[in-house]
């Protein structure tokens, strides 16, 4: 929260343009997909797992979208297919993690490579950029009657949905329970594997949706769309106070972290601050955030390791 205010103040003080409507629009435009992917990732991290493959899911969805468009499929059909594909990709992750019991960090490093590779197979050196302008306007204009970009609107809506589910429903309670102690969750009748698999599927679908937005926004489908973004997504979620060990975090935190991240990047762009140093600022912020949480963490870690020990022995 403090960070958000600090960012806004910093932003406005360095550039009078900061809060101009055009800038607010482009701010949302350039970070929308990353922001959207943060939501399911936050839930997955709260269950104690991780999904590093989401940016490759984005790439593969983008490629498939382009490929099918080249083959004259109707656009609504394409979008549906792409979302289904996203679900399948997520299910593959989920099944490998829950059925084979593989560590999700390892699995999704694998699928990060695999999905990006399949994207390359699908589209190869082809670049598709003749999408109808009805769709690609989302990259140029704001949501009707507002100056907010489409992806920002989608983000806000999805964030509300994810927030309600996580903090208000039985499923949300289960997600926390699974992250804190999967065994106790199992003994309480929570379908641990199904919850995890389900979240991976949702993560896949949402990432595929992000892929669709990304493609339309840039009016370009190519195989390496979104590559190299994964650690930014993880960084934002962690900045939002989600514990990498699972069981702790709030969607509000993630939401604010997204604002901070977007605002900060934008503020840096608007100043003559050397852009090479964006990483220094982002990393520094993450470090400070984690150290501030650290006080409480000292004790938490102790308890956690008891849990980790017990679940391993």
């Amino acid at each position: 929260m403090l960070a958000v205010i600090a960012t806004l103040v910093l932003g406005t003080s360095v550039s009078s343009q900061y809060l101009s409507s055009y800038n607010v629009l482009s701010l949302g435009l350039s970070n929308g997909e990353i922001a959207i992917m943060c939501l399911p990732l936050a839930l997955i991290i709260i269950t104690g797992e991780i999904d590093l493959s989401i940016t490759s899911t984005l790439a593969l969805s983008s490629s498939l979208l382009g490929y099918l468009w080249l083959h004259h499929w109707p656009m609504p059909g394409i979008i549906l297919t792409v979302l289904v594909l996203g679900g399948v990709l997520g299910a593959v992750n989920g099944l490998l993690v829950t059925r084979l019991g593989l560590p999700s960090l390892a699995v999704t490093i694998g699928t990060l490579t695999l999905y990006a590779g399949v994207a390359e197979i699908v589209l190869g050196s082809t670049i598709v950029s003749n999408f109808p302008s009805t769709y690609t306007t989302i990259g140029v204009t704001g949501f009707p009657h507002t100056d907010i970009s489409y992806s920002a609107v989608f983000f806000v809506v999805l964030a509300a949905v994810f927030g309600l589910v996580l903090h208000g429903t039985k499923l949300g309670r289960s997600i926390f329970a699974v992250g804190l102690n999967a065994e106790a969750a199992l003994y309480s009748g929570i379908r641990v594997k199904r919850v995890k698999t389900g979240l991976f599927v949702v993560s896949g679908i949402v990432s595929a949706f992000a892929g669709v937005l990304y493609t339309f926004r840039l009016n370009t489908a190519e195989y390496d769309n979104g590559s190299g973004l994964i650690l930014s997504v993880v960084a934002i979620v962690l900045l939002g106070g989600v514990s990498i060990f699972g069981g702790k975090g709030s969607l509000l935190g993630v939401f604010l972290a997204v604002l901070v991240f977007a605002g900060l990047q934008n503020a840096i762009l608007l100043t003559s601050f050397p852009q090479d140093a964006t990483g220094i600022v982002t990393g520094g912020l993450l470090l400070v955030a984690i150290l501030l949480q650290g006080g409480a963490l000292v004790e938490k870690l102790g308890r956690m390791s008891v849990r980790a020990k017990a679940s391993r022995t």
Binding site: Y22, L29, S30, S125, T126, S129, L218, T220, Y223, Q275
Partner: protein
């Protein structure tokens, strides 16, 4: 040339001063663009400085539209008068560039064009010229025969793909030269190295490699720089003289081509200032004097041509420093 520069500077009333001109290379930290843009090398920013404009180099850190786009948007927010830009991906950038043009900003592309959404393109060399000369250099070295391969950047790179298409066309004139493979090093040193090694292992009879990208050719040269391959496999492509000096001097590479990137940036900046000052328009036939480079004319298609690519060899390479 010197007197031309003197003349253009001596005509200050025609060009506005204090214009905000942003130079947007594909990405930052890329030595080719650093050469094209920086003051030290006599690139775009040196031209802007000389003309009394306020210039800055801005871009993302990776060579993608997703990283370049927010920068362009920020530049627009910052009140740019002109953008000098190398487009990572024309279709992705076009809506934003069109918006910029609609609000009166001059958009000059250099190095990599965005044909439908710029005021003027400063072309370093025609795509055909580049494709042809590389095949010709290699053909001369191989006496027109043998297996050859191409080490490109990324598979989705428009520039590369156009050049490769022209190379294939030119290769038809050398029926005994056979293109066996095109591999992609993603403009990454390590990947380019691995793919080059793969070519050597896969094709024991390989005689020549073309790498039309500065990262690729340097990496390939480092792989070939052993007694085993030196002089037995010929390498050419587009490279910078500094990176290639060692390999030209020790005989790993005989000749490669490039334009002077600093001149390219310098010319693009000049054109942008001329346009933003309304001293010229982008109509074909308009002409202006670009400082030390002399007079240039706008060609059909709203572009200016820097000149033919320059071929670097052992005899001349030491004269260059970029």
């Amino acid at each position: 040339v010197a007197s031309a520069a003197a003349r253009s500077v001596g005509r200050p009333h025609a060009l506005k001063k204090g214009l905000k001109v942003f130079v947007v290379p594909k990405n930052l930290g890329n030595s080719y663009f650093t050469t094209a843009d920086s003051v030290k090398t006599g690139g775009a920013l040196s031209a802007l400085k000389a003309l009394g404009e306020s210039g800055a180099e801005t871009s993302g850190t990776t060579d993608t539209p997703a990283s370049q786009l927010p920068v362009i948007q920020a530049d627009i927010s910052k009140g740019a008068n002109a953008l000098v830009i190398s487009a990572t991906d024309p279709t992705a950038l076009c809506p934003t560039l069109k918006r910029a043009m609609a609000s009166g900003i001059v958009v000059v592309t250099y190095d990599s064009d965005a044909p439908t959404c710029r005021t003027l393109f400063v072309n370093q060399a025609t795509a055909q010229g580049i494709g042809d000369i590389e095949v010709q250099i290699l053909a001369k070295e191989l006496h027109g025969q043998g297996q050859i391969a191409i080490v490109s950047a990324s598979a989705s790179d428009t520039n590369q793909n156009t050049w490769i298409a022209y190379m294939k066309q030119e290769l038809k004139s050398y029926p005994k030269m056979k293109l066996v493979s095109v591999v992609y090093g993603n403009d990454d040193t390590a990947t380019s190295t691995t793919v080059t090694q793969g070519l050597l292992s896969k094709y024991p009879n390989l005689k020549g490699i073309i790498s039309p990208t500065t990262v690729g050719i340097a990496a390939a040269a480092a792989v070939l720089d052993t007694a085993k391959y030196r002089g037995k496999i010929q390498l050419t492509g587009l490279g910078t003289p500094d990176e290639m000096k060692k390999y030209v001097q020790d005989g790993t590479v005989q000749a490669f081509a490039l334009w002077n990137p600093a001149d390219l940036g310098y010319l693009a900046a000049y054109a942008a200032v001329e346009l933003a000052s309304h001293a010229i328009t982008n109509a074909p036939g308009q002409s202006f004097v670009a400082g030390r480079l002399g007079r240039y004319k706008v060609l059909p298609g709203h572009e200016i041509l820097l000149g033919a690519p320059f071929v670097f060899t052992k005899a001349n390479i030491n004269k260059f420093n970029f």
